[in-house]
């Protein structure tokens, strides 16, 4: 079976064995003109969970008329977009509402988030219009503590993930170096 990147068979094996659940949250942002001052917002997973964000999908950006509740035309503009970051892994960077960003769907990531480490956003709309946009966060939800079959104890799923990924790299490097010797 094949899966869209970065959900390959190794990721699926981890998710299935550790008790993860593929999940998504589709958010609609209605954004007023921000006049040079971006609006800080966060995406916080369910407090009972820790999530691995595997991708974002950017949808439509439409003009929105608050007084009537009607949509206007689609907008593509370098004056609209999102700065986003996740502590410890992804530094702040700029995703403008331009075609090259929206063509990359989903926007792949491997970022751990929880209540104490939310996914952070700075929303920018430096046009004079109110805009409507949808963004889907594709995640894998895990319990806050999961059973580690090797360590024989409960641990943070991020800790187990890091050990698992390191194990894959070590295994491949060993195979490569052993192959060089023969």
């Amino acid at each position: 079976m094949s899966f869209p990147w970065p959900v390959n068979d190794k990721v699926v094996a981890f998710v299935d064995t550790v008790g993860g659940l593929f999940w998504h949250d589709t958010l609609v942002y209605v954004i007023p003109p921000t006049a040079g001052i971006p609006i800080y917002a966060t995406y916080i997973p369910d407090p009972a969970t820790k999530v691995l964000v595997i991708g974002l999908t950017f949808g439509d950006i439409l003009e929105y008329y608050p007084a009537t509740g009607e949509f206007g035309p689609e907008i593509r503009s370098h004056k609209i977009g999102i700065w986003h970051a996740c502590k410890g892994r992804m530094m702040w960077h700029w995703d403008p509402a331009l075609k090259s960003i929206f063509m990359t769907n989903p926007y792949p990531q491997l970022l751990w988030c929880d209540v104490g480490k939310p996914y952070e956003l700075l929303i920018v709309n430096d046009t004079d219009k109110t805009v409507w946009m949808d963004v889907t966060f594709w995640v894998v939800r895990f319990p806050k503590r999961v059973w580690c079959p090797v360590l024989n104890r409960y641990c943070d799923p991020e800790e187990l993930w890091n050990a698992y990924m390191k194990g894959i790299v070590v295994d491949y490097v060993k195979k490569a170096t052993e192959g060089e010797r023969t």
Binding site: V30, I31, G69
Partner: protein
């Protein structure tokens, strides 16, 4: 311009009021749980989660 109404009138009014205050509005069935409400961010739980079928 589309004449389709995006939201029920009560939700549209809440969105309009928040936008007048310069707030970002975030809509999701559990918006108030996954989006932190601040003086610049207004989460609105929409659409409502349907009741379970009998």
């Amino acid at each position: 311009m589309s004449t389709d109404k995006a939201y029920p009138e009560d939700v549209r009014k809440r969105i309009e009021e928040a936008l007048k205050q310069g707030k970002l509005v975030v809509l999701h069935p559990n918006a108030t749980k996954i989006i932190k409400k601040t003086d610049k961010v207004e989460p609105i739980d929409y659409p409502k989660t349907p009741s379970k079928p009998a």
